[in-house]
């Protein structure tokens, strides 16, 4: 029996993360959970990819990271969108809309 494919579409993880964080700061698991919930379970995020992507986005200057104490006095890393991150989100959103629109049109004419 085949599981439905829940992999994040190649190259869109950054966009998903930026969009998720535009609603407010979150930690890694929070981001993963929200992507899963909002997508209605279509996308599942692998923690290895996610945390690496967060490090990458942070180094690119699109995210700021902050360590906070949790209730059970653990350290948790929270990420928030920076100004540059907001701009990047706009760019990637526009880009994605353009491309997905094109794909949708192609599929329609095919049909």
């Amino acid at each position: 029996m085949d599981d439905p494919n829940t992999d994040v579409i190649q190259g869109t993880l950054d966009l998903l993360v930026l969009k998720t964080l535009s609603l407010g700061p979150l930690h890694g698991f929070g981001i993963a959970r929200r992507v899963e919930q909002v997508s209605g379970g279509v996308f599942k995020v692998n923690p290895g990819s996610l945390l690496t992507a967060l490090e990458r986005l942070e180094r690119a200057g699109w995210l700021d990271a902050e360590w906070r104490q949790t209730e059970n006095s653990r350290r948790a890393k929270f990420y928030a969108l920076t100004g540059a991150g907001k701009k990047q989100l706009a760019v990637e959103t526009a880009d994605w809309t353009r491309r997905s629109g094109a794909i949708a049109r192609l599929l329609e004419t095919e049909g």
Partner: protein
């Protein structure tokens, strides 16, 4: 911003790896905790929640690993890890490491030392402002094709006044002269220059002012060193008076440290720009330097000079018919003579480095044979090509870098030895020192050798077949014919390169031996030479100097131990001398295009006897040949043959432009001498009596034939001369030392190339030894079997030695072929030896066979002591 974050994050992670690990661990831990607590909220037990989280998100360790491996700093960490591994490997194999490092240190050290000299002398710009626009003016003879590195005053003045491509032209001359200070006199290089000199070189004084045209014959500028040595400081030197050739000169300025053009001049005397009465278009009294206008090329300036030469040809057909004014860059004029020698040395050390590389390659190959198992396992586990080759290359890089550092450390004393050995004529010696360029060169060499010496081993590592390598027991020694052939090939290459070195050394040594054994035309032993500088400016001065010298000669003859005494301007190997065209009387119409050429000398009576130059015909000068009596001359055999053929030259007339155009009667013929060096062919010489050419009394060497060791008479001679005139500045040497000095370049070359050949030989010996020792060790099993079946010890020894001899022969054959091509390049440095010199060839070949066989003796001996029982049991 993002670049900055990349950098700071990466650096922080590199610097505090444990903090980074902790952060990643905390974040991953938090992630899983959250996942589990969510699952528990959904109603799962703690254990089930853990299992489910793991199922969904994967293994924590893998996640941590994945996050941790992000970032550029990770590549750095991997690299340093590999480097540490390579370092540990090297420490575990000290024999390999030390041998390879020392081998490379020799190669890189020799290269660094020679490159230091090459860089400072040939490559670095001259230390003058506008160094690339400085030019030297020479006179080229279109009929004979030879170039005089001097100019006549009027010709140079025309260049100065009539060309547009030159910003400034300066005339100068001079040499080692006595400089009289208040209480003593010093022998130093004095340059007489016009005021343009400073414009050409763009020099600013460190103290005082430079002389101008108005200061002619009254002022002097001195070097910083001269001021310090004689007056204490630059300021103290200003206004002081020094006497050069008796003329008082006021020091107006002191130059900055480091300026000493030409040939480390210490005193520059102001001379007039105006033509002096001695100047003629036939008297080559000056050297000339010029500064090209910026933007003007040498070719364009030469074109303009050609035009000027044409005009002068028409205006002064008598003297300028065959003259062409030519210029060359100052840099080339200064260093042109040593260029071939330095390039030869450079090529030689390049060869040494090649041999060193071959040796290290060989060592690496042996190492990689031993690590076949390790490599095989790596490949079996799926390492990529790069991952298999990387450890080999990294080890090689480490060894090379260590070799490079050791090489630079070796080069420092080597340069000192080199400079101590270098001939005095080596230009720009004071500029030679280690610098950034040289260090960069050494580093480059190290990296290059690492690449060159690891290519073969790395490729072989790649080709290792894991199945084969793991099956095959290396100690059974049937491992690859290919590997053995490769090692043999390396040894052959090494021997060929060494043969070329030995051959070159043989040729140059043979040249030096030839020169030392040459008949110079005079006797050099027991001959004391005194540079005696007596000022003379007018005919009266000259006469007085001549009388004074006659007095000195007779005083010196009375010194016990002195056999004969004479004076000479134009002593062979000496610093003074003149030459030029002459004409012969009664030879029919003079063909100006084919004027004969000769060295000119001015001698006192008794000179030929003192020097041991044989009188072939006629008589020597005598006290009766005075200024007011008919002018006479003595000619050498080559001149007699050149101008008089088979007819008797005695009584014939001859004329030259030394200082008067009076006809001279030939009164005698003497043997030829080699004038400038033993390498030179004996040439025609025209001797004139000192009494009739008194101006040259101030450029005289006094020569004394002694019965005792010449230098023991130094004090007695000094006392006698000071008794006659204390103002004569003196310098002592012996003819043997002067001849020696004249061969300094040949000797330097031969000594250096020989020592390089020695290094090459040593390396080749190591190479042969290594190969033989390795193959004997690998064949222990085979040899054991042969011995068990009753093979003679001598047969086994012979087998090893024969193998070595065979390699040597192949190497020599290749070396001979290479030599045939390469030795042509040194033809100009040889004297009396042909490039294919059988003596050098045979001795180099013998030396190499001997070296190879000697190197194979120890492994061979070891082979004969293989105990069959032990060998067969070895596993």
């Amino acid at each position: 911003m993002s670049l900055w974050r990349q950098l700071t994050h990466g650096l922080r992670n590199l610097m505090h790896p444990s903090a980074r690990d902790q952060d990643v661990a905390d974040e991953v831990e938090h992630y899983f905790e959250q996942a589990e607590s969510e699952l528990r909220l959904g109603g799962l037990s703690a254990d089930d929640a853990r299992r489910a989280a793991r199922l969904e998100a994967g293994n924590r360790t893998v996640v941590k690993e994945r996050v941790n491996s992000y970032g550029w700093e990770n590549a750095v960490r991997c690299f340093t890890g590999d480097l540490r591994f390579a370092g540990r490997q090297l420490r575990k194999h000290p024999v390999f490491t030390v041998t390879a490092t020392l081998t490379l240190a020799l190669g890189i050290g020799a290269n660094t030392a020679i490159f230091t000299v090459v860089q400072s002398v040939l490559l670095a710009p001259l230390p003058y402002r506008n160094a690339d626009r400085l030019a030297v003016l020479d006179t080229h003879w279109t009929n004979s094709g030879h170039t005089t590195p001097r100019v006549t005053g009027p010709d140079a003045a025309d260049v100065r006044d009539q060309t547009r491509s030159m910003e400034a032209v300066s005339l100068y001359n001079g040499g080692r002269l006595g400089v009289a200070l208040r209480d003593h006199s010093a022998y130093t290089v004095v340059t007489l220059a016009d005021a343009n000199f400073w414009r050409v070189f763009g020099v600013q004084p460190a103290a005082g002012r430079l002389f101008t045209q108005a200061d002619a014959d009254r002022a002097a500028v001195v070097s910083a060193q001269f001021a310090r040595d004689n007056f204490g400081s630059a300021q103290a030197a200003l206004g002081q008076v020094v006497r050069v050739e008796g003329e008082p000169l006021e020091i107006t300025g002191v130059l900055p440290e480091g300026f000493g053009f030409p040939s480390n001049t210490e005193v520059w005397e102001a001379r007039s720009l105006l033509k002096s009465k001695w100047d003629a278009r036939s008297a080559f009294n000056y050297k000339a330097v010029g500064l090209l206008r910026s933007g003007v090329s040498f070719a364009a300036a030469q074109t303009e000079l050609d035009g000027l030469s044409e005009r002068l040809k028409v205006a002064y057909p008598e003297t300028n018919r065959n003259k062409q004014m030519v210029m060359e860059p100052l840099e080339k004029a200064l260093t042109g003579d040593v260029r071939p020698t330095l390039l030869l040395l450079w090529a030689t050390v390049g060869l040494i480095l090649l041999i060193a590389c071959v040796n290290v390659t060989h060592l690496q190959l042996v190492r990689s044979m031993e690590r076949r198992r390790e490599i095989a396992i790596r490949k079996a586990l799926g390492s990529s090509r790069w991952q298999v080759m990387q450890p080999v290359m990294l080890e090689s890089l480490l060894v090379s870098l260590m070799g490079g550092v050791a090489g630079v450390l070796l080069a420092v004393p080597a340069i000192r030895v080199l400079l101590a050995m270098a001939p005095k004529a080596l230009p720009r010696v004071e500029e030679i020192h280690l610098n950034g360029w040289v260090l960069a060169f050494a580093l480059g060499l190290a990296v290059l050798t690492a690449m060159v010496s690891s290519v073969l081993p790395a490729l072989r590592a790649w080709r290792v077949d894991p199945a084969e390598a793991l099956k095959q027991d290396a100690s059974r020694g049937m491992s690859g014919q290919g590997a053995a052939r490769l090692r043999d090939g390396l040894v052959i290459a090494e021997i060929a390169a060494t043969f070329v070195l030995a051959m070159g050394a043989g040729l140059l040594l043979h040249t030096v031996l030839n020169l030392m054994g040459r008949d110079l035309g005079y006797q050099t032993r027991q001959l004391l030479v005194v540079d005696a500088d007596a000022p003379a400016h007018t005919v009266q001065d000259g006469d007085r100097a001549v009388r004074q010298f006659n007095e000195i000669f007779s005083e010196l003859r009375a010194v016990p131990g002195v056999e004969r005494v004479a004076g000479i301007m134009g002593l062979p190997m000496g610093s003074y001398g003149s030459n030029g065209y002459y004409t012969v009387g009664g030879a029919g119409p003079v063909d100006v295009n084919r004027s004969p050429y000769a060295n000119w000398s001015v001698a006192s009576p008794g000179y030929f006897e003192t020097m041991g130059i044989p009188m072939k015909q006629g008589r020597d000068f005598s006290a009766q040949d005075r200024f007011d009596s008919p002018f006479v001359a003595v000619i050498s055999e080559a001149l007699a043959k050149q101008s008089f053929g088979n007819t008797d030259p005695v009584g014939r007339q001859i004329q030259c432009g030394l200082d008067s155009d009076k006809w001279m009667t030939v009164i005698g013929v003497v043997g030829d001498v080699r004038q400038n060096s033993p390498a030179e062919m004996p040439g025609p010489t025209l001797y004139m009596p000192m009494a009739q050419h008194p101006f040259y009394a101030n450029q005289i060497h006094v020569v004394l034939r002694t019965e005792v060791k010449p230098l023991t008479l130094m004090n007695a001679v000094q006392e006698k001369i000071a008794g006659v005139n204390p103002l004569i500045a003196l310098r002592f040497t012996t003819m043997d030392a002067m001849v020696d000095q004249s061969m300094a370049t040949e000797r330097f070359r031969a000594a250096l190339i020989s020592s390089f050949a020695g290094v090459g030989l040593l390396l080749a010996m190591l190479g042969v030894y290594g190969t033989m020792a390795y193959s004997v060790a690998k064949r222990t099993f085979e040899i054991g079997i042969r011995m068990a079946f009753g093979a003679e010890k001598s047969a086994i020894l012979r087998g090893v030695l024969e193998h070595a001899a065979k390699l040597a022969c192949y190497g020599i054959a290749a070396g001979v072929a290479l030599s045939l091509i390469l030795t042509r390049l040194v033809t100009s440095m040889l004297a009396g030896v042909r490039p294919i010199d059988p003596v050098s060839l045979v001795s180099a070949a013998l030396l190499l066979v001997l070296t190879a066989v000697t190197a194979a003796l120890v492994p061979g001996w070891r082979a004969t002591h293989v105990d069959p029982m032990v060998a067969l049991r070895t596993e």
